[in-house]
């Protein structure tokens, strides 16, 4: 058995600069074409800015008010991040408990499903009254709730994915239930947790932003969009929308990067 049955598959995944260009270039080209078409459409048909401002006007507003937009992104982003961390921690912990105690799972499943459909519109004003209109707490809780649901369900699913052969193995080693959880159950669930986090990341931003519509302090992206629109500054409103998109993408890409990093260090 000195000669291996086959050489192991190479782990090198680099496709080179040409491959990268081929993945990046088409969407960029499409984006440029779409923006030009949009601008052409607005200019040629002389669309009023309150209906749809042109992308150049939005870009102009965006650069002119860059500091304000970035400030808004920081406020909303901070709320979303706190909500994301909070919701993820609670989601993972509760999922572990549910996996250990069948009864808890049966009790929690309908409640978590109910959480999933709680409308932010209804919840946010209630939370503002509870925590005061000057605090960001309500927004962070709204984001946490939105994050909790996908993280909980994905983690619970991952915890159930332990292969029977691994379970037998742990029993044959007379491993304690904590040892089995630590060595087999949790590592099996990790990729699922990160999938849940990826889904939750953009939800956190959207929820934190929407929650701003229903009260609380000014400064966030949601409040800025409404106030710019109500003062008929549509270009600026759209500039804040652009900021929201960038923020959402940032969160999503960070979660995606984290997921890739984890699945690489632990090839599944």
């Amino acid at each position: 058995m000195s000669t291996p049955a086959s050489t192991p598959g190479s782990m090198r995944g680099g496709r080179g600069a040409a491959g990268l260009a081929r993945t990046v270039l088409p969407p960029v080209l499409l984006g440029v074409v779409a923006i030009l078409l949009w601008q052409g459409f607005v200019t040629v048909l002389a669309v009023k800015p309150f209906i749809l401002p042109g992308p150049f006007a939005i870009g102009e507003q965006f650069t002119a008010n860059l500091q304000n937009v970035v400030n808004g992104m920081v406020v909303t982003g901070r709320n979303a991040l706190i909500g994301l961390v909070l919701g993820a921690i609670v989601g993972v912990l509760l999922a572990i408990l549910s996996a250990l105690l069948r009864i808890l799972d049966e009790m929690a499943a309908p409640i978590v499903a109910a959480f999933a459909v709680v409308p932010i519109v209804a919840l946010a004003p209630v939370l503002y009254t509870m925590f005061g209109a000057n605090a960001e707490t309500a927004r962070q809780l709204v984001a946490a709730l939105a994050v909790f649901v996908p993280v909980y369900f994905n983690t619970l699913k991952g915890l159930r994915m332990v292969r029977p052969v691994h379970r037998d193995l742990m029993r044959s080693y007379a491993a304690s239930s904590w040892q089995a959880t630590k060595t087999v159950t949790l590592p099996t669930a990790v990729p699922f947790v990160f999938t849940g986090l990826r889904i939750a990341s953009s939800l956190a931003v959207i929820s934190a932003l929407i929650a701003e519509y229903f009260g609380g302090p000014v400064g966030g992206l949601g409040k800025s969009i409404t106030s710019a629109a109500s003062s008929s500054n549509y270009g600026l409103a759209w500039a804040y929308v652009l900021g929201s998109i960038i923020l959402g993408l940032l969160f999503y890409c960070a979660a995606l990067g984290l997921e890739k990093l984890v699945s690489r260090s632990a090839p599944a």
């Binding site: 058995m1 598959g9 691994h166 037998d168 193995l169 029993r171 044959s172 080693y173 590592p187 599944a268």
Partner: protein, 275 residues
């Protein structure tokens, strides 16, 4: 691993064991019916029979992964449960069952780690075993970078980690191709000669059972019973090698097992799986 005062006569003693699986609405399946079997220390015993004859069930009962409906099982004079808790056996399954997030070395160290062996000792033992199964160049690889045969070798190394005096193997080569399979068999014979552990080996391959075993236990299905036990006199483990497969006695034993498997009616002329 405890040192018994009185010398232990049997590695495994199965005494009138039955296992009935409860089905839906009162229907039940008798997987094993009053099976008795003993395995001596250092002896290699194969369990062979068609699917559903309860050979895997018997192995799982010995491993205390399942409990018998009636009858008793002793492993080195203790209950199967105590033997499991004392880690008196090593086990390998048809699926290698490696943890994909651990390297080859990490997988082999797993049982040692769970039972509190120090880091340095773990490293040393893993290196020894990796050498034994011929994977020295792959210690840092992950399971998904290895072929099926290599994964199974890691699983076998893992089952040997704590130098058990009993090895339980449930069709460990069942998913491998013929050539890899024969090489693994040669390897297992060598390892058994070196470790002098008793082995209970489940298989559905006649030549495999004959090549490896001191005794072949032929089982029949529905309900699972032991039909016959055949002693294979092909010499000591350490003397068995590749040329044994061409030996006259080997062929003779193979056709004996085949006749036992098919009952007296057929004499092996029919299309029999000869893996």
């Amino acid at each position: 691993m405890t040192t018994a005062a009185a010398p232990v006569e049997h590695a495994v003693a199965v005494n009138a064991v039955s296992r009935v699986f409860a089905g839906r609405k009162g229907a039940s399946v008798t997987a094993l019916d009053a099976v008795s079997l003993t395995v001596a220390p250092g002896e290699f015993v194969s369990l062979i029979g068609p699917s559903g004859c309860g050979k895997s069930t018997l192995l799982r009962l010995i491993a205390d992964l399942d409990t018998p409906t009636s009858g008793s099982i002793e492993v080195f004079g203790k209950t199967a449960r105590q033997a499991r808790i004392d880690q008196d056996y090593g086990i390998a399954f048809q699926q290698a069952g490696l943890l994909p997030w651990r390297t080859v070395a990490g997988n082999i160290e797993l049982p040692l780690e769970l039972h509190g062996t120090g880091k340095a000792a773990r490293r040393e033992r893993a290196a020894e075993l990796i050498e034994l199964v011929g994977l020295s160049d792959f210690a840092g690889h992950y399971p998904d970078q290895l072929s099926g045969g290599m994964q199974q070798r890691v699983a076998i190394a893992r089952s040997l980690a704590e130098s058990p005096s009993l090895l339980l193997m449930d069709e460990p080569f069942g998913a491998l191709d013929e050539m890899t399979r024969e090489r693994m068999q040669n390897e297992l014979v060598r390892i058994c000669a070196e470790t002098s552990a008793a082995v209970v080996f489940v298989t559905h391959s006649i030549p495999e059972a004959v090549f490896l075993s001191n005794r072949v236990v032929v089982m029949s299905p529905r309900p699972g019973r032991i039909r016959d036990v055949l002693s294979v006199n092909l010499g000591r483990m350490s003397d068995r090698g590749e040329n044994l497969r061409e030996d006259e006695d080997f062929f003779h034993s193979v056709s004996q097992v085949r006749e036992l498997l098919h009952g007296s009616a057929s004499t092996g002329a029919r299309g029999v799986e000869t893996r």
